[in-house]
Symmetry: C2
Subunit: 193 residues, 2 copies
Amino acid sequence: MPTDATHPTIHLEYPDWVDDVVDWERRYASDEEKMRLAIDVSRENVARGTGGPFGAAIFERESGRVAAVGMNSVVRANNCTLHGEMVAFMMAQQRVGSFTLRSPALPEHELFTSCEPCAMCLGAALWSGVRRVVCGAAREDASRLEFEEGPVFPESYRYLEDRGIAIEHNVLRDEARAVLELYRSTSGTIYNG
Amino acid sequence: MPTDATHPTIHLEYPDWVDDVVDWERRYASDEEKMRLAIDVSRENVARGTGGPFGAAIFERESGRVAAVGMNSVVRANNCTLHGEMVAFMMAQQRVGSFTLRSPALPEHELFTSCEPCAMCLGAALWSGVRRVVCGAAREDASRLEFEEGPVFPESYRYLEDRGIAIEHNVLRDEARAVLELYRSTSGTIYNG
């Protein structure tokens, strides 16, 4: 197969700074500790100029170990699908070698995201195999920055809940929102605007 | 940065057979020709055992040239996000070097998908920059195979239409559905079931 322009390759790695933020050995115990990691990822992504103000982290629910993190990588990767949650899903699944985190061989996983998921990420949450989605900032916090969230409705969340995914909102919302404001103040690209 | 298990890399290329199906020089003129390419991709993906029965193709609207194709790659890549449409978005954006196909420097693009998009892919269509989404098989055709489509509602489509994305349904629906049935008859993995 030729490797010309018609045959691109997609390649994604964490940015170098990830180990400055994530302690892979730590057991993150409370919801607040877990959310703070997602927010730390979002803040570092802005500070390092590697993407938009959105971070996510997936944990093994019982052990509190980090399975993966995700940082918005849309601009740096020229890829509209690489929201923070999506990167976290991809990285966690790559790590465990399965297209779902709900395999019987795996412990339960949960997603913490620094902002309520957009329509794409909420859909992906359903396919990812996470059992719980915990959100920091709210849709309207992102909308104030003119970040579109897409067709997410109250029944969208109910659809996931009906399929066994617990959803929680407003965990450390103020801290999460502060990163959105930081991004605005630094005139970051509103890439979905 | 260590390259241990905590730091996976995501890597994606087209399967080798893509050039057997796609004529990169051809100008695909009608909606039917364009949809037939998306369906051909879906069928070949089943025949070659490289994924689920879903294919997509993105075209430059006026010229009819293929910007990218996408084939469901969830199982082969251990990645729940790699539906056919998502692969097509990623490949098209990588090719043009932009996170959106709606750049002023680019011609208009349109997505043809062998089956109505799931919630994730419909959300991504909004971020992708395509101006038109044309669907083959319907949600209920996929549901009959127990492929979940997620929280997509009539107002989800309206949300996209309100933002300038034209949507069309049931183009070559029977041909597209036949590939779904082919997959069922070969006992393919229902990875989102």
